[in-house]
């Protein structure tokens, strides 16, 4: 394995983390809610792929997207809508609780050992092989899907009415409401988009490695959440870059560390996270002069 291969893999995984980060950052943007339960949308889509693995691939994918979107919408409707005026610490704990309750549901329904969503594993075949570098289809898919969804989100935010309203709500929620932006519609839209992102992440992850366990989405969400805080969660772009960076770093360090030390990968990543937070508490990619006051 040479360094180009390492970079290619790291960029692929970084794109997946960027997708998780977009889902989290959209929700944080419109309602200042750190959604720990986002990972459960990914897990829900993953288990849908497990259940639907015998169906034609497009149908299974459509079902996964549908389940994640409906669950996202329900989460907001049942739990988070009541928390709009709550303290940040309260909402944080509430999403944490929802995440663990849903994780328990997966545990009850599917068991702790995990189920296989063996549906797109043909994507693991190499697509391009030159000079010792192997680029697998799944890496191309990660980059492609990541790029397309990122572009689509940007277009939606900048070119549509609901996108404009979402940006207005993110900038100043109260002022936006006063100007006639319908809060419920904007927030529901944000949750629906985050559901789509979660389903895309689940599809890409199961293509790479088909085992779905109850903590399937939680782990990547925690790391992506760390990434967007490090990147700067006030802005969608800095948050997405932060998500990409942590996925990239995780993959890169995993390959660079000598194999005897590889078990300490989480320590290395989180140590870097602490250092970055200390040096740039407003976010690594936040513009110079941004203050911490507008953050949680």
């Amino acid at each position: 394995m040479n360094w180009i291969q390492t970079l290619v893999d790291a960029i692929g995984l970084g794109s997946v983390y960027a997708l998780v980060a977009i889902g989290l950052a959209l929700i944080f943007g419109v309602m200042r809610l750190v959604n720990f339960a986002h990972g459960e949308l990914i897990t829900a889509a993953g288990y849908t792929l497990v259940v639907a693995h015998a169906l034609p691939v497009p149908v299974a994918i459509a079902l996964a997207v549908l389940v994640a979107v409906v669950l996202a919408w329900l989460m907001e409707r049942v739990a988070f809508r009541r928390l709009r005026n709550a303290q940040p610490a309260t909402t944080l704990v509430a999403t944490f609780a929802v995440a663990f309750a849903l994780e328990a549901v997966w545990l009850i329904a599917f068991g702790a050992r995990g189920e296989s969503a063996d549906l797109l594993s043909s994507l693991n075949e190499p697509a391009i092989q030159t000079g010792g570098v192997t680029i697998r289809w799944v890496t191309i898919a990660m980059l492609g899907v990541g790029g397309i969804l990122l572009g689509a989100t940007t277009l939606l935010l900048n070119r549509t009415k609901i996108g404009l309203q979402m940006r207005a709500a993110a900038a100043d929620f109260r002022a936006a409401r006063l100007l006639g932006v319908r809060a419920d519609a904007v927030i529901s839209a944000a949750f629906v988009i985050s559901g789509v992102m979660a389903a895309a992440v689940a599809i890409l992850l199961t293509a790479q490695q088909p085992l779905v366990t109850p903590t399937f989405g939680l782990e990547i969400t925690i790391l992506a959440l760390v990434g967007i805080v490090v990147g700067g969660m006030d802005r969608l772009t800095t948050a997405t870059m932060g998500g990409f960076a942590i996925g990239f770093l995780n993959s890169l360090l995993g390959n660079l560390l000598p194999s005897s030390e590889r078990v300490y990968l989480p320590s290395a990543v989180f140590l870097i996270v602490i250092i970055v937070l200390l040096v740039r508490p407003v976010g690594l990619f936040a513009p110079r002069g941004a203050s911490t006051a507008e953050r949680l």
């Binding site: 303290q87 610490a89 704990v93 509430a94 989180f270 602490i274 200390l278």
Partner: protein
């Protein structure tokens, strides 16, 4: 009644509840007694969390790291040195060749918890809000990762067994009482009051010259010491431990206890710890299968987490200040000596998060 006596009276309900759990615990069967002991150890952990989270208003996901440090330090140091080489062949010689008594191991656990919390806190306490939450979570991840794989200081991924089971019911009562008294003394100390002021309004506190970083660091270190102590109590209660037992699930469940009780008061920490612990114990029993009267209940695995998650979410949504309203229980209120006006309009509940700044 003077203000000082009023304060001391506020300490009574938490202490009495702890002693009451101990007294009831002496009347039950041996198996149930172990569960009561476990509940008291949980209360000690929740009080440790409360010392930092309750007073500073900063959510920390990292305090269980100090419980883990305390548990493994106390466990590794009390296993007889004759059996250490077979259990943990890689240990550093100075750990392998020494063994201490259980009581000494609790002191060691507290000191180590305090020391590591202090070192981590010097850097982390400068952060606010979410960045602080994420950074403390990073501490938990690092401590877990190192304990799990560094076999020179402990058992690594294996279970640490053969630890003397010296935490009985009364040791747990004493431990929880000790934590409650320390927490109470801290919250009424100068540092505790300044920290609570900063929790309510950080810019205003800073403007009158409160060094928030210093007081947060002190509370974090004290919390680390109590968490280490609670970890020591825990490991001597259960006799064997793995790193997974003091990681995400314990973080979730103890945080749930604090939130359910009300994270702004010691009374809330103790009540939440007791209620959710008992709920947890009995739900786990139902998961294993138990008969309640004529009905046999056998809940599927995971139901406990589900029910506690739903309870926690409901309380956060419907009663964000917890079931105690994040207030201390003042016996005076029970004696009916409060003015009427005051009892119909209680003071506004404390905010549970720092203002940005």
């Amino acid at each position: 009644m003077s203000a000082a006596r009023e304060k001391v009276l506020q300490l009574l309900p938490p202490l009495l509840l702890i002693v009451l759990i101990g007294l009831v615990g002496t009347t039950v069967s041996a198996g149930t007694k172990t569960e009561f002991t476990g509940v008291l150890v949980n209360i000690a952990i929740v009080i440790a969390l409360y010392v930092f989270i309750g007073n500073s208003g900063v959510i920390s996901f990292g305090q269980i790291a100090f419980v883990a440090i305390g548990a493994f330090a106390a466990g590794v140091m009390t296993i007889p040195s004759e059996v250490k080489p077979t259990l943990m062949p890689e240990l550093f010689p100075f750990i392998a060749n020494h063994s201490i008594s259980s009581f000494e191991s609790l002191i060691l656990a507290s000191l180590l918890g305090a020391f590591i919390a202090f070192v981590a806190g010097i850097a982390l306490m400068r952060l606010n809000g979410l960045a602080a939450g994420i950074a403390t979570f990073a501490v938990l991840e690092i401590v877990h990762n190192v304990l799990r794989f560094w076999e020179k200081i402990g058992p690594g991924a294996k279970s640490l067994a053969l630890i003397p089971e010296t935490t009985g019911l009364w040791e747990a009562v004493l431990g929880a009482l000790f934590c409650a008294v320390i927490a109470f003394l801290y919250q009424h100390s100068r540092s505790g009051r300044l920290l609570r002021a900063a929790r309510e309004d950080a810019p205003a506190a800073r403007a009158i010259g409160v060094n928030i970083h210093l007081h947060r660091l002190f509370a974090f270190t004290l919390s680390g010491a109590l968490a280490g102590l609670a970890g020591g109590l825990l490991v001597h209660q259960i006799g064997s431990i793995t790193t997974e037992q003091v990681f995400l699930q314990l973080t979730f469940i103890t945080l749930a206890m604090l939130v359910v009780g009300g994270m702004g008061s010691l009374w809330g920490a103790v009540v939440g710890g007791a209620l959710v612990s008992f709920l947890n114990v009995y739900l786990l029993k139902l998961e294993a299968g138990a008969s309640v009267g004529p009905i046999h209940i056998d809940l599927p695995n995971g139901s406990t987490l589900l029910i506690i998650g739903v309870v926690m979410a409901s309380i956060v949504i419907l009663r964000p200040q917890g079931i105690t309203g994040s207030r201390e229980l003042s016996p005076r209120r029970w004696l009916g000596r409060r003015r009427r006006g005051a009892s119909t309009s209680p003071p506004p509940p404390v905010a549970d998060a720092p203002k940005a700044g």
